[in-house]
Symmetry: C2
C-alpha cells in the first residue's frame, strides 16, 4: 500500500534544486544560502532540511546536475599518456570556473554520480598504459589531488586579489636574508609575476609521465 501519510509537502527537492541553480547562475555561489533558497521557494530555511541533509548535501546534488551537462570530449591521442592528459584537462576545465565544487568534493575524489566519466576515462587510460587496477586508481587519485589543489589555490588567489592583499606576498618577500634564503632572495619581486603563471598543464604532464614510467 503506497498511500502516503503525514502532512503533505509544500516543497520538493527538485524545487529546491531548481531554485538553487537559479541563484547560483544569476547571483553567484556566494549568494547561495539556505535562507536565500528558502525565500526563493517560498518557505523557511528549516523546511529545507526535510529535503536535503544539509548545505553540503545540497551542493553535492547541485554539482551532480551540473556534471551531467558537461561533455567529456572524445580522445584525440591514441597513446595512453595523451589520453590521460586530455581527460584530466577536460575535468579541470569543467571545474575551474566553479571552484566551489572542489570545496564540496575534496573528500570524495570527484565522486559525484554523473561525473564518473572523468575518473573512468583517466583510470582507463592508465590501465591501457599498463598499470594494474590498483596503480591506476592511485594514479587517478594523485591527479585528483593535484587538480583540486591547483583549482582551489587559483580560486583563493583570485579572491585575494579582488580583495586587497596584493601586499601580503610582497610583505613576505621584502628584506629576505640572502645568506639564509639565497634562491628566494635572488628571485625577489619576480615571485609575484611567476606565481601568476598557469602551471597546470606542465604539472599534469610531469605527473602522467612519472606515473606511467
Amino acid at each position: 500500500m503506497p498511500t502516503r501519510t503525514g502532512r503533505p509537502p509544500k516543497i520538493s527537492r527538485d524545487a529546491i534544486l531548481a531554485a538553487a541553480h537559479r541563484i547560483v547562475d544569476t547571483e553567484g555561489p556566494d549568494a547561495l544560502t539556505m535562507r536565500r533558497v528558502a525565500r526563493e521557494v517560498g518557505t523557511t530555511a528549516m523546511a529545507l532540511y526535510h529535503h536535503v541533509r544539509d548545505k553540503d548535501d545540497l551542493l553535492r546534488l547541485l554539482l551532480d546536475d551540473y556534471a551531467a551537462g558537461v561533455p567529456l570530449p572524445d580522445p584525440v591521442s591514441d597513446d595512453p599518456a595523451g589520453r590521460a592528459v586530455e581527460a584530466a584537462t577536460a575535468m579541470r576545465a569543467a571545474l575551474a570556473p566553479r571552484p566551489w565544487i572542489v570545496d564540496v568534493l575534496r573528500a570524495d575524489d570527484l565522486l559525484a554520480r554523473r561525473a564518473l566519466r572523468f575518473p573512468e576515462a583517466i583510470i582507463d587510460a592508465f590501465m591501457t598504459g599498463g598499470l594494474d587496477a590498483e596503480d591506476a586508481v592511485d594514479a587517478y587519485r594523485i591527479i585528483w589531488h593535484y587538480t583540486a589543489g591547483e583549482i582551489s589555490a587559483r580560486a583563493a588567489a583570485t579572491r585575494r586579489r579582488t580583495d586587497d592583499r596584493l601586499t601580503y606576498r610582497e610583505q613576505v618577500f621584502t628584506g629576505l636574508d640572502p645568506a639564509e634564503l639565497p634562491r628566494l632572495a635572488a628571485l625577489g619581486e619576480r615571485w609575484e609575476e611567476l606565481a601568476g603563471r598557469d602551471t597546470y598543464d606542465k604539472g599534469l604532464r610531469a605527473l602522467v609521465h612519472g606515473l606511467l614510467r
Copy 2:
C-alpha cells in the same frame, strides 16, 4: 617624539596570539573563534580587530609562529631529485597534522615568512638539478598544489568519516552500469579500500621525476 597618544591598549597582538595558540593546542582548531579568543584574553570579540585584520590574518600569524618551530631536516640524498622529495616530504609532514594551515595558505603557495625554508630547499634542489629559476618556481608551485590538495582531501575525508557519511561513496558506487563505466564497475566496492591508501609519496616521486626530466 615616540610618545603614544590615544587610549592605551588593554590587550596586545602577542597576547592574542598566545591565547590562540593555547586554544588550538588544548581544544583543537574548531574551537578557535574570535569570541573564544576574546574571552581568553578578557575582552570582546571586536576589540581583537584592532590588532589583527581578520580571522584569516590571525591564522596566518599563528601559522608563522608554528612554522618557526618546525625543523627542515638536513638532506640525506645527494641527487637533486632525492633532495626535492625529502624537502617536500618534510613540508607535508609538518602540515598534515594541521590541515587548517593549508586552508589558510592555499592562495599563497605556503608563503609564510618563517616557513620559507621549505620552498627555498625545493627550489634549490630543482635548480641544482638543472632547471632555471622560472622552471624551478613552477616546479615548486606544482608540488605545492599537489601537496595542498592531498592534505586537504585527506583532512576532509577524515572529517567525513568521523561524521557519518560512510555511505555516500558506497551510494555513488552501487549499481554502476558496466557498459558505460567498465573500469569503475569492475572495481566496485574495492574503491572504498583503495581510496584509503596514502599515495602522497608515490605521486610526489612521479612529479619530481617528471619535472626533472
